[in-house]
Amino acid sequence: MSLVEIRGLSKVFQKGGETVKPLEDVDLDIERGEFVSLMGPSGTGKSTLLNLVAGIDRPSAGSIRVGETEVTKLSRAKLADWRAGHLGYIFQTHNLIPVLTAYENIELPLFLLPLSRTERQKRVNIALDAVGLVDRAYHYPRQLSGGQEQRVGIARAIVANPQVIVADEPTGSLDADTGSQIRSLLCQLNEELGMTLLLVTHDREVASLAGRQLRLDHGKIVEASRVRVANSTVGG
């Protein structure tokens, strides 16, 4: 049984008098430990899909199951509880709490789990170590560089050891160098820690890291390999 199972997923937005349908009857399976990238033109509904998986938006139709949990059937409060233990979200901009230190930012999601103080300490230190920021633990976000902030954001997403991590253009607002740091960090999460990743990106280099590359086009998901075949057919 796959870890994430999306069936018949649709999302309809009413924008003024217009109806926008970014997702139409989408099916997708993600296996445990898989690294999946999702590309596609702007405005096709990549973020929408990610937000539906994370349970911070509601689908118009269809279902999403993650592990044993039917995400689409949970109340808002239950969804929050579920995210605390099972889902890590990496934002495009780090979205750290400005008044908390790197350490405190990473520790915050652990307050929601039944963990002792020492257990929390242990986990935060592991996460800090994983993103290579042990020496920046007591810095505030404004004292960190953009790449460091994003790494704290990643540490916060992985600290609770979630089933799935979703990332929405994690390198989107970084320069080339820091972008490559984040890229290797993402690889490391998947390869060394065995984490399941669903990553939305515009960056081919980032997408190429993934074991499986998808494209979202006109409300449908297509395997990138198939897209390449189609392109070459048209081109030839």
């Binding site: 994370a54 409060a77 995210r83 605390a84 979205n95 999601p109 916060r156």
Partner: protein, 379 residues
Amino acid sequence: MFRFAPYIWKGMIRHRARTAMTIAGAAVGVFVFCCVGAVQQGLNRLTQGVAANQSLIVFQENRFCPTTSRLPQDYATTIAKLDGVVGVVPMQVYTNNCRASLDIIVFNGAPPTDIRKFDTLRLIEGGWESFESRSDAAIVGIHVARRRGLSVGQSFTIGEVTVQIVGIFESTVANEENLIYTHLDFLQRAAGSANVGVCTLFEVLVREGVDPDRLATTIDSTLHSGPIATTTRRKGAFQASTLADLVDLIEFAHWLGYASVGLVLSLLATTTLMATQDRIKEHAVLQVLGVRPTRVARFVIAESLMICLVGGTIGMLIALTALAWGGFAIGAEGATIAFEPSWSLAVSGLAVSLLVGLLAGLVPALKVATADLVPSLNQ
């Protein structure tokens, strides 16, 4: 919830100036609320209580200001003979000001042996012997002493009256602490030779079990045949009617107390709303991390509650300290209302702060808990 306390705390002090100003606003509001409450309580004490209802005041008919009531002192003998009367104290009242004033000085002259028998009084400085032995001696209520900076050994002059202060007293009846007691004959002479043998009023102590109102009627009808007609009322009713104009004002002022609470509420609600609007994205991020919406709402309420409670406590403490040390009283026509701190005032000040903090946080909290996450994150 307590695990998140550092986060709530750091959020509160994020905008130091804004938080400090809101706290100051809450402090001022609760300060006003407590002061107005003290005035109200002073008025209630005046017209209720044992002293107010178990003694009678005999005054000249149709007269209000103490300088205009002139009763023959020998009425005391007549009144004392009536059934149900335990004691009669003839009293001369002399005041610096017949109009409403915040710094009213009221002399009450009575036979010193009678004053010593008042079971409400307790000397905290000086002695009864020196009061009885010296004809121009005076004992001063603690409130007047504080307000005017008076101490034993000083002399004190108001108008044509100069007294030597030989003692300072406390009283179980708050408004009595605004009085200065002197010898009756001294005050009569000081007020002019025409006043010898004439006094302003009689305070009549009624035996327990006797209806004070029936006795009042008996006194008035007995004295009706004398040279000057009288009006006798319970002490509380007498003081309330003397202060009638002030009572109206005070009843109006208590709306001011509510209004100041209303102002605090709107101030705090505005700041809380502003603070949450600044943090729409942050609150959405918290929920993405797994914090329940109701919990984020509680963070918001906790913050407004803390601010209001801190401000309210400061305002309440300042008000109570000022009331305790200022010895404030408002008076008119020789009767005074004392403003005193009390536990009930402290408790109601805190309760109001709690309630306002809660109410002010409610709407912003509701908005935070129900806002859609995706648009909030995209802000």
